[in-house]
Amino acid sequence: MSERAREPATVPRRKLRVATASLAGCFGCHMSLLDIDERLVDLLELIELDASPLTDKKRCGPCDLGLIEGGLCNAENVHTLRAMRANCKILVAVGACALNGGLPAQRNHIDVRDCLQTAYLSGPGVERGFIPNDPELPLPLAQVHPLHDVVKIDYFLAGCPPSAEAIWQFLTDLIAGRTPVTTHGLIRYD
């Protein structure tokens, strides 16, 4: 049998379905993803976006990969995270807030009631304030949590935000089936 005959038939590679979400974050990690610039074109040859703030699709369908920015500060964050975990084969915590709560977690030693009263009633410059109570608003959690407190996370991409370079390296490694490399300069906690 010739070498050529042993090669598998070329099958067009299916695009990976990718969902992204921004929970208790600042959207900076999504901005850093966009900072891969013209490589976005290459990336879109390999993936298609499912639920994401970039597509405005709200409910996550079955996906190969889920990228989550931000920690968990309210009940809706937890529901979104669980839906992502249920639908994504690989779930990635992206950025400082997803990894350890980040800036929002600085409220963790303050009682939620005190926090809301200061922000909406007694804080400097507040006049005729009231604590928002619309039933549509998700209830805040007592503390902000990192994602791995609630579901299994498969990969962690550190940084505030992770650099475009780190995101690109991570995604290309993962899509190519390699273990993502974390050399000096690509792991950053700030």
Binding site: L99, N100, A105, P146, I187, Y189
Partner: protein, 245 residues
């Protein structure tokens, strides 16, 4: 007149490391350009081996390399998957026991805890964070104490007691409640003898003891561990712990 004796050596990760009498495994290894991750060790102070991050295996037995004397013929393992995992877990415990928010920390980029975590390839803190409530002490006109980042290495205690002869710092409590205190009846740093010129001002490996009005002086990209990993910095300089530049 006698000939100088041939230097004695031990073997570390398959390499011969020469040492002088009185050197620990840590000091001999660093002098030979071989980095062993460490937090509470500082070349200017007596080692006390409390953080255990520098644990190596000496002839198969785990020892803190900063307190174990170098001995001729010993076979030492340091750069192994098993020891890296052990060190990683210790560092992850430290991250989750305190409040280590690198993006808002003045010491970021020059922090030994952060540099060691990078060196160990830490991508996650793994454990559930404890988020302890540790108010800062901003009473001193020139110095801020941010207890959130303390890793109990005792370097400031040693520097203040031994070098500065002031005993400004101490540890109080036990176990998870152990914490850094200052030597003043009021408990406030402003009421201690601490001065900006003290050695204790320069040894903190993390962002606890900070000069006021000097934060973020070095731009991102030019800080000590932006340019090269801590293993390269520590083996290139005699005093790698001082991240202040």
């Amino acid at each position: 007149m006698t000939d100088a004796p041939a230097p004695q050596t031990f073997q570390m990760d398959g390499h011969d490391v020469a040492f002088a009498p009185g050197q620990s495994i840590m000091t001999a290894a660093l002098a030979a350009g071989r980095y062993i991750p460490h937090l509470c060790f500082h070349p200017e102070f007596t080692a006390h081996g409390s953080c255990k991050v520098c644990t190596v295996k000496v002839n198969g037995q785990p020892h803190a390399s900063c307190t174990t004397p170098a001995r001729a013929g010993d076979v030492i393992e340091s750069d192994t998957d098993e020891l890296t995992q052990l060190r990683l877990n210790l560092v992850q415990f430290l991250f989750t026991e305190g409040n280590h928010f690198c993006p808002s920390c003045e010491k970021s980029g020059g922090c030994t805890l952060q540099g060691v975590a990078y060196e160990l390839g830490m991508t996650t803190e793994h454990f559930s964070p404890l988020f302890p409530d540790r108010p800062v002490d901003a009473s001193h006109p020139d110095v801020l104490l941010d207890f959130n980042r303390c890793i109990l290495c005792e370097l400031c205690i040693r520097a203040s007691a031994i070098h500065d002869q002031k005993h400004v710092f101490a540890l109080s409590g036990r176990g998870i409640t152990k914490h850094l205190i200052v030597n003043a009846e009021s408990g406030r740093l402003a009421d201690t003898a601490l001065a900006l010129s003290d050695k204790a001002m320069t040894v903190c490996p993390v962002g606890v003891i900070l000069r006021k009005r000097q934060g973020f002086a070095v731009p991102i990209g030019q800080r000590p561990y932006d340019r090269q990993p801590i293993s390269a910095v520590a083996t290139a300089h005699p005093d790698p712990e001082d991240g202040h530049e």
